[in-house]
């Protein structure tokens, strides 16, 4: 969920009202945003506000205050218009392999203040981070139109052929030189989006002046300043829908500052597949039955007119015609995909906390999963036998289940994680032992002997399941004290089998290398091996930093489910 930072006083000025912090928090709550924090930066009070991830129109103070004013009946939803412009952008086919989509727009006769200028930059940042997925999907370039000359070209060139003075740099450099330099800067994370690609995307004007090398950096030449009047906006992307959303969002947010407010100028984008005018700034209408809109929210007693009024408050200008409501979905509401999105907005406007609660009239009998029911019963038995339950992690290091247990083969059957952030998460465990041994090792202060157990899932690769891996419920118990306690875990096995009414089991000497020589045994159910028990090998103890002898039992619970 994105968090935006807005200056409190500017927001209050736009809202035409000063709130107490608590009142403002309540106002946010009902609207579905969250006042996360209040901080003071250079004597200016800033609000940190959490915005729902699909509401790109609330990512700047302009859009946020507009939406809240409409919600509070202080403002009518503005109508956004696009007037035809002269500028043209030619998209060359060469970009198809690197960053295929590009749209553009012009904001004419703008008047920036320091505040609106900063907000303009911040919105681009937020869009880059969120919908743009750190610029990988979408990136934005804004330029002073009076310093450049159309038609503009979007093409892809070999890095060595690209040469210009990047924004805030002193000299002209080639793309490889820039990348070398930017590796030390905040731009570093974005470089990998292009690195390794044979061609880099580039936007240039009629005279070959470079506007930008998306998604990395703009050119110094066309940079916007507080004095910029006419802004050329280009958006490049790997995702066409997100490309449209971003340009619509910027135009609808900042056309407010144009001499003709809420009006922007189109750019003709030409490519081999034809010519289109951007920004799209489309309006769509949705015809819905008023009664149906109310149903999902459980809202009762609203007339169609009232439904339309509630929706209008949510920046969805609506009209009732008979029992039907016509909802207009403008360029700020790309989050509306389905009627259910409108239904939610109606419920928000109505107030979630005003909805009458009802309990579903549905009578059912609860049934447990047998494996969980049995696990709980066994856990109770183990605790009654004097063992203390531990709860450890499903993920562990490769060593934990293999070399540390003197069992190199364990990795063959283990599910391995591709992107662990640390070695604690390299594999899903195939044994509960490492967790229980680590717990014993961390609890040296406890009176001896230590008697621990865990009943939980391990995961093995398996050909017979959809994902190629399968959980197995296991029982693991440990005895650690001055003596090895083999007879104790053996006794526990007898106890477990007795509680499961299982007589057909036996133990047989095992050569497993995790056990002390001649002190390990397989647990057999009939002739099938379902687990093992024994005195741990001193090397295993050393690997887990344990200085007292330990006996363990580990077995599958699955045959008994």
């Amino acid at each position: 969920m994105p968090t935006i930072s807005v200056t409190r006083d500017i927001l209050y000025e736009r809202l035409g009202k000063t709130f107490t912090d608590d009142d403002f928090e309540d106002e946010c709550f009902d609207f579905g945003i969250e006042l996360d924090d209040i901080v003071e930066e250079n004597n200016v009070v800033k609000f940190k506000i959490d915005i729902p991830a699909n509401r790109y129109d609330l990512l700047c103070v302009e859009g946020l205050s507009r939406a809240m004013n409409v919600f509070r009946d202080r403002m009518v939803v503005p109508k956004f218009t696009v007037v035809p412009g002269q500028e043209k952008l030619i998209v060359d086919d060469s970009v198809s392999g690197v960053r295929p989509y590009c749209v553009a727009a012009v904001l004419r006769d703008m008047k920036f203040t320091e505040e609106s200028y900063n907000s303009f930059i911040l919105l681009q940042d937020k869009l880059h981070q969120n919908i743009g997925r750190e610029r990988s999907l979408v990136s934005i370039g804004t330029h002073d139109l009076d310093t450049i000359q159309g038609p503009f070209t979007y093409q892809a060139l070999a890095p060595e052929q690209i040469k210009f003075q990047p924004l805030n740099q002193d000299s002209v450099m080639t793309a490889p030189e820039m990348f070398e330099k930017f590796r030390q800067t905040y731009l570093k994370p974005y470089l990998q989006i292009l690195e390794g690609k044979p061609l880099y995307p580039l936007i240039t004007d009629a005279n070959g002046v470079v506007l930008s090398l998306p998604p990395i950096i703009n050119g110094e030449h066309s940079k916007i300043t507080l004095d910029t009047k006419n802004v050329f906006i280009e958006v490049t992307a790997c995702d066409r829908a997100k490309c449209r959303i971003v340009i619509d969002t910027i135009c609808s947010m900042f056309s407010e500052y144009c001499s003709a407010p809420f009006t922007c100028e189109s750019v003709t984008v030409e490519s081999s597949s034809g010519s289109v005018l951007t920004p799209p700034m489309k309006y769509q209408t949705m015809e819905c039955s008023a009664a149906q809109l109310c149903t999902k929210g459980g809202i009762t007693g609203l007339t169609p007119d009232s439904v339309a009024d509630h929706l209008t408050k949510m920046f969805l200008p609506s009209k009732a015609v008979g029992e039907q409501v016509t909802v207009e979905i403008g360029p700020t509401r790309h989050d509306i995909l389905h009627q259910c999105d409108v239904e939610e907005d109606l419920a928000i406007a109505y107030g979630y906390n005003n909805i009458t609660e009802q309990v579903p009239n549905l009578h059912t009998i609860g049934v447990e999963q047998e494996v969980n029911k049995l696990s709980d019963a066994i856990r109770e038995e183990l605790a009654r036998a004097g063992f203390t339950e531990v709860l450890t992690f499903s993920l562990c290091s490769r060593d934990d289940i293999s070399t540390s247990l003197r069992n190199g083969k364990a990795l063959e059957e283990a599910v391995q994680i591709a992107n662990p952030k640390s070695n604690e998460f390299q594999v899903v465990r195939t044994s509960l032992l490492p967790g229980i041994l680590k717990t014993a090792s961390c609890n040296r202060k406890m009176p001896l002997p230590l008697k621990l157990f865990e009943v939980s899932d391990v995961v093995f690769k398996s050909e017979d399941t959809e994902t190629g891996s399968k959980n197995q419920r296991k029982i693991c118990a440990l005895f650690s004290g001055k003596t090895s306690g083999f007879e104790v875990v053996h006794g526990l096995l007898d106890r477990i089998m007795l509680s499961l009414s299982e007589k057909n089991y036996s133990i047989r000497a095992s050569e497993e290398s995790m056990f002390f020589t001649g002190r390990g045994a397989d647990i057999l159910l009939g002739t099938e091996k379902i687990g093992h028990l024994g005195i741990l090998h001193p090397e295993v103890l050393e690997n887990f930093d344990i200085s007292l002898p330990c006996s363990v039992l580990e077995m599958s619970l699955e045959p008994f489910v």
Binding site: V359, T392, C442
Partner: protein, 573 residues
């Protein structure tokens, strides 16, 4: 643990073992260290006592059972010494503990211990009166006098018969004091007008070092006149030492045979009837009882059991969640979560390298096709996301990020039935996030999820069922905040008023599943599915006041916490 002898001694003065009353690893570890330097601890009675005891425990003991956890305190009384005191008293009628100690050549402190233990016996065997004697002890300076002679004596001996220049004489150490004392004693004289400067001469042939004689007498405890004592005390050559001792006389219940009161009623006493004639020690009711040796269940799982019971009470059936590895299809795509959604990023989700992919053939092919179309172009009243959906993303195996993946499988299964039957389902199981870890976030946690599928369910039903559910948890005050969730619309965050924190805190998330999720599965259009989820750890941490999640789960959990955790009744504050 400090190795500094005095501190360790004080630490062990209050404990039988390092961790109180039971032998642990730490005793063993400390023993190794102390044993190497035992001479450093000779003055530390408690360390010595503990060391001896651990040494005994460390040797193979044949006769005793291998029980190392003993709760009885070892009583340090020396029977023969008690008896000696009583025998001497019988003979002499009175004892002075100092005198007896030197007669019997026993340590005075040991003797006092024996006297105290006799005093503690009921029946007043003896009476004891504490007294003190003060005597004098030589200071460091005093001792140096005895060894080298007094300053004045040394100075006198440095004056040759023919005399010595005063300035040369004064170069001796402590000459100033020695000079003035020797002058007072009349041992030397000074000619201030002598040739070459003031010169010192012997006034007597020889001198007796009286101070040293006095000091010797004092250290041998010979009697010395008070005035003399005061003189040397003034010179800080001696200092007073107080010795406490007991003057012991017979008590009203004196006897030379000791009848010790019994600590406990035994089976033998009942058998031979001896309990009738025995006296019994007072019981210390202020002490704690003996700790139970018992097994324990883990606190978080005790809380889990409560949640399970609540769901079962409400008629919810448990979903089969024993499946940590999922694929992108059921975890995300089936939930209408677009393939470029940040949750599908490697920064948030654990991807599996082995087995990396689910075979495409394992997915229901017609359903897969419907999911693809809904993502790309929409349908079922939706515009879709307008992007190219790739089956390879759906095939990628991951560790499930939520149990909703299982809910999706269950709903798909329900949709395949010939006739729709409403259901209530729940699960509580582990989910995995490749997140940055901190005090409240781990890479895995337990998700609690409730799902109801029925015709015409609405937000009012969701609110109603949440009130019912949370009431069973003892939470009455709820409010709901609009929220965004990729697979529910409407979505509501659940807040409860926390009486302790005096504020509203988020306790869970809920919503109605999107039609783009349900309709491709084949569920009837009027079937709505309401669902909510919360973590098991967070409410447990809030309830127990635990701030670091590692104190609740994982190997670093303190087992004392596990064993001391009370019975869990989540509806009780």
């Amino acid at each position: 643990m400090t190795m500094e002898p005095l501190k360790l001694d004080e630490y062990l003065s209050k404990r039988s073992y390092v961790n109180g009353y039971c032998f642990t690893y730490e005793d063993k570890a400390l023993f190794e260290v102390v044993n190497k330097n035992i001479s450093n601890y000779s003055a530390c009675h408690h360390v010595v006592r503990w060391h001896k005891h651990i040494a005994k425990l460390s040797k193979p003991v044949k006769k005793q059972p291998p029980v190392v956890c003993k709760q009885d305190k070892i009583v340090l009384t020396d029977m023969s010494l008690d008896q000696t005191i009583l025998n001497v008293l019988e003979k002499d009628g009175e004892i002075d503990s100092l005198g007896l100690a030197s007669d019997q050549s026993v340590d005075h402190q040991k003797l006092i211990g024996a006297i105290k233990s006799l005093l503690a016996l009921p029946g007043e065997y003896i009476k004891a009166e504490q007294k003190q004697v003060s005597c004098w002890e030589l200071t460091g300076e005093g001792k140096s006098f005895v060894a080298n002679g007094s300053y004045e004596y040394i100075l006198f001996n440095s004056v040759p018969k023919e005399g010595i220049l005063q300035k040369d004489l004064m170069k001796l150490p402590n000459a100033k004091i020695g000079f003035s004392k020797a002058m007072t004693l009349g041992w030397i004289s000074i000619d201030k007008k002598a040739e070459g400067g003031p010169t010192v001469f012997r006034k007597v042939e020889t001198a007796e070092d009286e101070v040293v004689k006095v000091l010797n007498n004092i250290s041998e405890q010979k009697s010395v006149p008070d005035k003399v004592i005061q003189d040397v005390k003034k010179r800080k050559l001696i200092s007073p030492v107080v010795t406490k001792f007991y003057k012991v006389t017979k008590g009203p219940g004196f006897s030379t045979t000791i009848q010790r009161p019994e600590a406990d009623l035994t089976a033998e006493m009942l058998q031979d009837g001896s309990w009738k004639s025995k006296t019994f020690k007072d019981y210390n009711f202020a002490a704690r009882g003996a700790p139970m040796t018992s097994g324990y269940l883990h606190p978080l799982l005790k809380v889990r059991a409560e949640y399970r019971r609540i769901f079962l009470d409400m008629g919810f059936s448990e979903m089969p969640t024993a499946q940590f590895v999922e694929n992108g299809f059921w975890n995300f795509d089936a939930l209408f979560q677009p393939q470029q959604h940040p949750a599908r990023d490697a920064h948030d989700t654990f991807f599996i390298s082995e087995p990396a992919l689910t075979k495409e053939a394992k997915f229901p092919s017609d359903y897969l096709e419907r999911v693809k179309t809904t993502h790309e172009k929409g349908g079922y009243g939706s515009t879709g996301y307008d992007y190219d959906w790739k089956v390879i993303e759906a095939q990628k195996n991951i560790l499930r990020t939520h149990t909703t993946a299982v809910s999706a499988r269950m709903l798909y299964k329900i949709a395949q039935q010939p006739e729709f039957k409403p259901v209530k389902m729940f699960s509580i199981d582990r989910v995995f996030r490749n997140e940055t870890l901190d005090a409240t976030h781990l890479a895995e946690f337990h998700q609690i999820e409730g799902v109801v599928a029925d015709r015409n369910l609405n937000l009012g039903h969701l609110i109603g069922i949440l009130h019912t559910f949370f009431k069973k948890l003892g939470i009455e005050k709820l409010k709901f905040k609009p929220a965004y969730n990729p697979y529910t619309e409407p979505s509501m965050e659940i807040f409860s008023y926390h009486e302790g924190l005096k504020k509203w805190v988020e306790i869970g998330n809920s919503g109605i599943f999107r039609p783009e999720m349900l309709l491709p599965m084949g569920l009837p259009a009027d079937v709505n599915v309401i669902a909510w989820g919360l973590s098991l750890e967070r409410p447990t941490m809030i309830k127990c006041g635990i701030n670091n999640i590692r104190e609740l789960i994982g190997p670093k959990v303190n087992l004392n916490m596990v064993q001391d955790f009370p019975i869990c009744r989540v509806n009780k504050a």
